[in-house]
């Protein structure tokens, strides 16, 4: 499931060094540094989806709501409460957490497409709130806000510094994620993905685990969203929309669901690809849509997933391919009963 410790460590260090020089590399290809920041933040968002999709085995499709709640949480508290940089991020994460606590209970005991359907629907509430409450949120046009100074230091991060700050955040998230999936809790999530009925027949209240995984995922999304809002100094309703959810899920699958660095790879391809495509073609959504189709039909295990498959004798593949293996008990498509 996870690469050997040494290989992972080396990969991580190589990645870190590459990321340190990403701004220079980017400007060589004509990309602004904000794109690099966007890659890191959407990588975090994709990792949040990966926690649910690749490690817990549920079908999340409404995560962008938490992303957007993070951004609006940061923006609104900056605009109306005049909080500092770090506080705005924390409050953004809190907003996302509240969102998850509100809709989570409706998702309990639901599985498969019904879970996804409910999550899509509930996720849209936040979109409509952002869209309609124009006085507070700026409505369709979104809300601009300034990047506040860091508390205690009185310094406002400029774009380059902001990138490196985000790199630190990203590194911390990766380490945190790694610790999480290696913890007993994380291992239990994987067991749930492998065979939820068996997990329940080993005394585990899987709903509780899935709920907490949802909360953690939401907090991560909120972190990514809040930072992204601070990056572009703007929050807009489409951040919350199911289209954005779809993008984030695609990044996860594209890179390789169920792997540690897959979401990052997916985010790089998607964000950079979108940036390049949109500057050259007005109709860039067409190749983007084609990417969805190609990925799903062509390499469903994603880039990292397929690569790892080639390099090691992995049984049955990663992620939710494992679900298709007959493990004896017919899993309900909509609800979990036992």
């Amino acid at each position: 499931m996870i690469m050997s410790n040494r290989a992972g460590l080396i990969a991580g260090l190589v990645l870190l060094i590459a990321l340190l020089f990403m701004p220079q590399i980017a400007s060589h290809i004509g990309l602004a540094i904000s794109v690099c920041t966007e890659v890191l933040l959407y990588a975090i968002a994709a990792m949040a989806v990966n926690l649910l999709l690749g490690y817990t085995g549920v079908l999340p499709f409404g995560n962008a709501a938490f992303f957007g709640l993070g951004a609006y949480g940061a923006g609104l508290t900056i605009e109306y409460l005049h909080v500092g940089f770090i506080t705005s991020i924390v409050l953004g994460m809190a907003a996302a957490l509240v969102g998850a606590v509100l809709i989570g209970p409706f998702l309990l005991r639901r599985r498969g497409i019904y879970f996804a359907l409910l999550m899509i629907a509930f996720g849209q509430v936040f979109y409509f709130i952002a869209y309609r409450f124009t006085d507070i949120t700026g409505g369709e046009d979104g809300m601009n806000f300034a990047r506040p100074a860091i508390e205690g230091l009185g310094v406002v991060l400029k774009d380059q510094q902001f990138y490196y700050a985000m790199l630190v955040v990203f590194a911390l998230v990766v380490i945190g994620f790694l610790l999480l999936v290696r913890s007993p809790f994380g291992r239990t999530l994987v067991a749930i993905k492998e065979n939820e009925v068996r997990a329940r027949y080993l005394g585990l209240n899987t709903d509780r685990f899935i709920f907490v995984a949802l909360l953690i995922s939401a907090i991560m999304e909120g972190l990514a969203g809040a930072c992204f809002g601070l990056s572009i100094m703007f929050a807009y309703p489409l951040m919350l929309d199911w289209h954005n959810s779809g993008n984030i899920v695609l990044m996860t699958i594209l890179g390789g669901s169920g792997t540690l660095f897959g979401p990052f790879i997916g985010a790089v391809i998607f964000v950079v690809g979108q940036e390049i495509l949109s500057t050259h073609w007005i109709w860039w959504q067409i190749p983007l849509g084609a990417l969805f189709v190609a990925c799903v039909l062509g390499f469903p295990k994603g880039i990292l997933g397929t690569a790892l498959d080639l390099f090691s004798k992995r049984r049955g593949g990663f992620a939710f391919e494992a679900r298709e293996l007959v493990h004896g008990t017919k899993l309900s498509e909509r609800e979990i009963i036992p």
Partner: protein, 256 residues
């Protein structure tokens, strides 16, 4: 007469128009080995599922250790001391045998919901428990292999060990011999004996293989078309005319 460890009364389960189980009652005394048999379509699996919480009966009552568990979710039954295996081994296919057992042990130790790594001495305790389970079913040598790579018989043994990992008092085995080759069957029978003789567990199992049933079970209940046809000792059942009749024409009885 002391209260049975596991008791069910008046179990009814219908699926739309299909009356799968009709008013079935049974008592399983502590420390016994009991079997449920019957021709295909008799409702054995349905009954088993209704008793073990895979779904809930339409009416009737199930109690375990005197506590009503009729509508208790599966995970709570396990916490109370039930264990169960499935007809097609329900395991974690991509995890190693070791990890398969670890999940249950961790759950029983209330460590599943833990974010910090387990402390070293606790870890040793858990490893020891897993190793005991591996040795019990003789899967020590395959411990680190993904369980999906193992033969069916070994997978079944792994699953039985998994059902033990939560320290059960009563183990429910759903057709433990299903799909196994003859040689593999012997290993399972041996393990079931050990469950009862060495660990003192109560065993309730569904099975088709009559030779195994007659040699293992102390008490047998025969289902036919959702209703209890007969109940008794192996000797009584094998001499029961209506039992033989129910089987003839429905399936071939092995080695009886």
């Amino acid at each position: 007469m002391s209260e049975a460890l596991f008791e069910a009364s008046g179990i009814v389960k219908h699926f739309g128009g299909v009356r799968a189980v009709e008013n079935v009652s049974l008592q399983v005394p502590a420390g016994s080995i009991q079997a449920i048999i019957g021709p295909n379509g008799a409702g054995k699996s349905t009954l088993f599922n209704a008793l073990s919480g895979f779904y809930y009966p339409d009416s009737g009552r199930v109690s375990f250790k005197g506590v009503d568990i009729t509508r208790a979710p599966a995970y709570r039954r396990i916490a109370m001391g039930l264990g169960r295996t499935f007809q097609t081994s329900s395991i974690f296919p991509n995890l190693s045998v070791y990890d398969n057992l670890l999940v249950g042990v961790q759950s029983a130790e209330n460590l599943a919901f833990r974010f910090r790594p387990v402390r070293a001495n606790k870890r040793k305790e858990i490893d020891a428990k897993v190793e005991r389970l591996l040795n019990f079913v003789n899967l020590m040598t395959s411990a680190r292999r993904p369980v999906s790579e193992l033969a069916h018989g070994s997978q079944r043994l792994c699953e039985i060990a998994m059902s033990l990992s939560t320290d059960p008092t009563l183990v429910m085995l759903d057709e433990p011999m299903a799909g196994l080759a003859h040689a593999e069957t012997a290993r399972i029978v041996e393990v079931i004996h050990k469950l009862h003789d060495e660990l003192g567990l109560t065993v309730l199992f569904v099975e088709h293989n009559m030779r195994v049933v007659l040699s293992l079970a102390q008490r047998i209940m025969v289902l036919d078309r959702g209703k209890v046809l007969a109940e008794g000792t192996p000797a009584e059942i094998s001499n029961n005319a209506s039992v033989r009749e129910a089987y003839i024409g429905k399936e071939v009885i092995e080695n009886v």
